[in-house]
Amino acid sequence: MRLQFVRFMMVILVLLSGCGPYTFKNTQLTPPDSAFDFRLIDQNEVPQSLSALRGNVVLIFFGYTNCPDICPATLSDMQLIYNRLGDDSAHVRMVFITVDPERDTPAKLNRYVQRFDSRIMALTGDPQALQATYAAYGAGATRRELPDSALKYAMDHTATVTVVDKQGMRRLLIAFASDVDDTVADIQALINE
């Protein structure tokens, strides 16, 4: 009887151990800080700000439409995340901010994101507003001339995705090529907070 009881308790402990507070899979910002309230223009030339998206979980990432490798890989992941979230996607906004405003007009941004997912918001803006946004999110975009390439120049940039919670706090950083299912789970946890 006593041995049976001990065995029973062990089973219960194992079951309970899987049920603590949620542990985020991506890098957590501790403590979370207030996310910069960008003021930019979207692909339909409509002014957008982070504060207007309050109440949603917002994923912010930087890139440019001439970028053939890193940016499409991230955009394709964003589309996949939206699909996996199902109905929860209504509480999530994906924001792609250009680091190449010289070439990326709203019309070009629109054509580019349409190929992946029209729910993705693509933003540009005046140089000052963009610079302030890059600085706040550590996007560190640098133009690099490429005389050996037909591309002429590339924009060096960070490929990290910043996750802002429903209260406008920066909570998570997603590294390039992170696991999509991990990110979906993290986003669902933030939606359910």
Binding site: F5, F8, I12, L15, L16, G18, C19, Y22, T65, N66, C67, P68, D69, I70, P72, A73, S76, D77, Q79, L80, N83, R84, G86, R111, Y112, R115, G138, G140, T142, R144, L146, D148, S149, A150, L151, A154, D156, H157, T158, A159, T160, F176, A177, V180, D181, V184, A185, Q188, A189, N192
Partner: protein, 170 residues
Amino acid sequence: MSRLLLLLCVCASLLASCSTTDTQGGMHDSMQSGDMATMMPMPNMNAPVVATVGDIRLSDAWVRTANQGDNSAGYFIINNSGNADTLIGVASDIATSTELHTVEKSDGMMRMRPVNDGIGIPSQGVQLLQPGAYHIMFIGLKRDLNTGERIEVTLTFAQAGDVTVPLSVR
């Protein structure tokens, strides 16, 4: 014995309040099999060989969907059962310019660069072209690349020579 029953009830109610595992189960249920095709790809080492030249075998060859006038990138796995070789050139008629590129990662920055001295392929080894690393860069696409289509590129290896490879658009 009644103590055991009481304990059981307490544990059951504790477990009932624990929903994280349920949420995750639901998430996987709602996953559509069609999604897998667009998933951030780990190269599929078991993909069928789509082209061979000398000791070189190419597999899992694909190019990213993109608009006419924009750029795209192509990827594949190179398997080499012979001596060391180098991928020194690439040509295609779907873009104004086709180049070998790589991405250098430092201090959290991603820096895309043309590869000038070719992509080395170790003897009896494997070289991967994949997102965030070595890739074929198509600059100025002459037409839209739509998912499910197929394009061709010609690769030039220093030792093995030229080979035409079909890339599927994903």
